[in-house]
Amino acid sequence: MNLRQGRIGRQEALCAAAIAAGASAVFTTDTNALYARGNSAYLSTPLSALLSLGAFLLVVRTMQRRDNKNLWELLSDGLGPVFGRVAALICTAVLLFAAAGLLSRFSLMLGRFVFPDASEWQILAYLAAAAFVPAWLGLEGIGRTSRLFVWLLLIAVLGALLLAAYNYQPHRLAPFLGDGLGNMAELSVRDTALFFPALMGLLVVTRGVHGVTAAKRAGYGAGIAAGVLSSLCQICLGMTYSYHDLAQMHSPMYRLTMNFRSGGYYPRLDLLLMMGWTLSGTLGAGFYTYAAALLFAEAFQQEDIRPAVAAFTAAVGGTAMLMHVETDFTKALGDIVSRYGWLAATVPALLAAALAARKGKREGKAGEDE
């Protein structure tokens, strides 16, 4: 067996999942869907985090009751070996899509604002390779690197928000409920697809984080941290730009850094902050890719995770490239993913949890962790 899990502590697990969820929620939002009909993102984003945490709680409780050691065991327990594998494939695709979303958005940002002369595939090839390294080295590498960089990444995001603070105007958040409560609820549900994959990733790697209970605690911490950070970003973005403007920006956070107060050296900090963000993107993509490879390896009894990591990294790079292709088909596909991606992200795990829970509590080693 070469599943490259190793063992990491709660802090490392929390940091890895929080970075992945935070990067997805801050940088990969579908801005057009989120803002075109008004800005309620500063309310819908924390609601999305709460919904994701609720779904995570339901799944993890069932895993504890049924003594499932990881997500794959829950899927096969709840849905049986055949449908469990189908559900595992869907979850794998969701994780890979989350990784591709990160790489795609960062390559777009880098291509538009930093390297306008470079083609997108060149930047993507570079980013995919950077995401491949942590995924190849496994959970321990990802967890410890995340713990090492978490403060730098926090400074990179909070620093940007702080330096742009002179331009915040609360009236730009008005009308305060966006397009109404219905739209806000819809956005909250849709955007669970930004938070839930990272929490699901934690359930895949439970063995490496000392069991389901430890994964649960790390998941709570990660969900809350990512929710608070992304909500803060949404409030600050909403106070800087009107919803009309935000709906037309693919990378509002980068636009924020191009808007620091004139004078001194602050205006030139955008590239340095971008470095921190890109680090979070590659680490997050590495975490997603590793979790996808591990789930796949467990579902299909693969002894060695490395071929899956290599193949999935290539798939992530290809999907990210596809996200840059503007055809009617890719646009329609993107719209479907944006609208219904949350179903693919949450339904397999929740369905398996519901069906497994009906079987009652499994006696014996329930609740025991490694």
């Binding site: 950077a130 008005a174 730009y241 403007d245």
Partner: protein, 434 residues
């Protein structure tokens, strides 16, 4: 194991650093930086875009080539301008240090400004804190007026500009971000600082389109022909629009109207009133102060009053917080703007001879009446220059209702009242030295 993680961390840092653009194949001195961009109507193409270019940092120790250069070209858009200008420059052109974008009067009153700003300026690395200015006449003349031995480092212009705004209130300050925020939304209209060439080279009459010409530093054009007197771009139009004038018919405290000797040939005072993306009118310096007070953008500035015996009295006003705006929408829309200001009379001897209450009333009266006059002028032009729209939008909870609401119609019939409280600075001895 520990070494493996350190190696991984180092590898990631190196990879990401290279992606940050901090390291590049070219060193910074291989670039020429555009510091100010001027936008005018072109003669054969939509735009005539001029730029002040600088290599190095413009310090006195720098070599000759660090002085500012002006270059301009007829083009379809800014992207084409960069391409065409680079063909005639001994270095690569970078837009990353643009501090100001100047619109000529004709460009600002037509569709050119909107056309120019609808391009993705970020992809040219233009940062969104760049300040915007409207020049009376042509922008290229204004840029020409910035070239001087007095001003070897044009990059510092932006700091002086912000400082001048903060210290006098005679001009507003606006960045690209703020322009985008206001111009395409209904939450208020932008006001831009008003610049001009003190010599009134072209005075809005089309100016001289010095296509693809270049000038070197110190304000001396290489070609000796007068740049702006020979007619140009705007003259081709069959029907000439009437010139933009001061909204309150003031004739002083406007660029080109001050009796100033020396200094830069280009100057700034007053503001340009916009409705959406269109230039509608001007306000002179003192009226701009009053407008900024109403907008909550006034920091400090001096006003001139006349005492009962006809002597001038200078009063330094300073902001005491943002104005409180109460907006009532409906059949009889009304706005009430309540404002508090600190005041100190700069001729203490004159001040001591006037009753304090009377002085307070005189200052408050000047500000209230002035703001009412400025409001009426802006309202007649259809410009929501007091940003009342931003208070209106907060009365709506959902976008559909706000977008269905016709604020423009409501604004046209709005009554505004102003309530100004003055707090005189304490000077019990009437001392001349404070």
């Amino acid at each position: 194991m520990r070494g493996r993680h350190i190696r991984l961390a180092a590898l990631l840092c190196a990879a990401v650093l290279a992606l940050s653009g901090c390291m590049g194949a070219r060193s910074p001195d291989e670039y020429g930086y555009a510091l100010v961009i001027g936008i005018d109507r072109g003669k054969t193409k939509p735009f005539y875009i001029s730029m002040l270019l600088q290599r190095g940092n413009g310090s006195s120790q720098s070599s000759e080539d660090s002085l500012c250069t002006m270059a301009g070209v007829e083009c379809s858009d800014l992207f084409e301008a960069v391409e065409l200008l680079e063909g005639g420059l001994p270095y690569s052109l970078s837009m990353a240090r643009v501090t100001a974008i100047v619109f000529g009067e004709e460009a600002a009153r037509g569709k050119l400004l909107e056309q120019f700003l609808s391009a993705s300026l970020g992809s040219l690395h233009i940062r969104y804190y760049a300040n915007l200015i409207v020049a009376r006449g042509r922008a290229e003349d204004y840029l020409d007026g910035l070239l001087s031995e007095l001003n070897p480092n044009v990059a510092k212009l932006q700091y002086n500009f912000i400082e001048y705004k903060e210290e006098t209130g005679m001009i507003p300050g606006i960045t690209l971000t703020q322009f985008y925020d206001r111009a395409w939304n209904q939450t208020g209209d932008v006001v831009l600082p008003l610049g001009g060439f003190e010599g009134e080279k072209s005075n809005g009459e089309g100016g001289g389109n010095k296509s693809t010409q270049q000038q070197t530093g110190n304000g001396r054009p290489e070609n000796t022909a007068e740049p702006s007197d020979s007619g140009g771009a705007g003259k081709e139009e069959p029907a000439k629009a009437p010139p933009i004038t001061d909204a309150l018919s003031a004739s002083d405290y406007l660029p080109g109207q001050t009796n100033r000797q020396g200094g830069l040939p280009a100057g700034m005072i007053g503001c340009a009133l916009f409705k959406g993306t269109r230039l509608m009118g001007y306000l002179n310096g003192p009226h701009t102060q009053l407008l900024l007070m109403g907008r909550g953008e006034f920091n400090r500035g001096r006003i001139q009053l006349t005492s009962a015996n006809g002597e001038p009295v200078s009063v330094m006003l300073a902001s005491k917080g943002n104005p409180a705006v109460t907006l009532t929408l409906g059949d009889t829309p009304a706005a009430k703007i309540k404002l508090s200001l600190y005041a100190s009379v700069e001729q203490p001897a004159a001040a001591s001879s006037i009753d304090k209450e009377e002085l307070r009333r005189a200052i408050a009266g000047y500000v209230e009446n002035g703001m009412a006059a400025v409001f009426a002028a802006c309202q007649s032009l259809g410009c929501d220059s007091f940003n009342l729209g931003e208070h209106a939008v907060t009365q709506f909870t959902d976008t559909k209702a706000w977008e269905a609401f016709d604020f423009e119609a409501e604004y046209k019939k709005m009554d505004a009242s102003f309530d100004v409280s003055i707090f005189l600075k304490y000077n019990p001895t009437g001392s001349r030295v404070e």
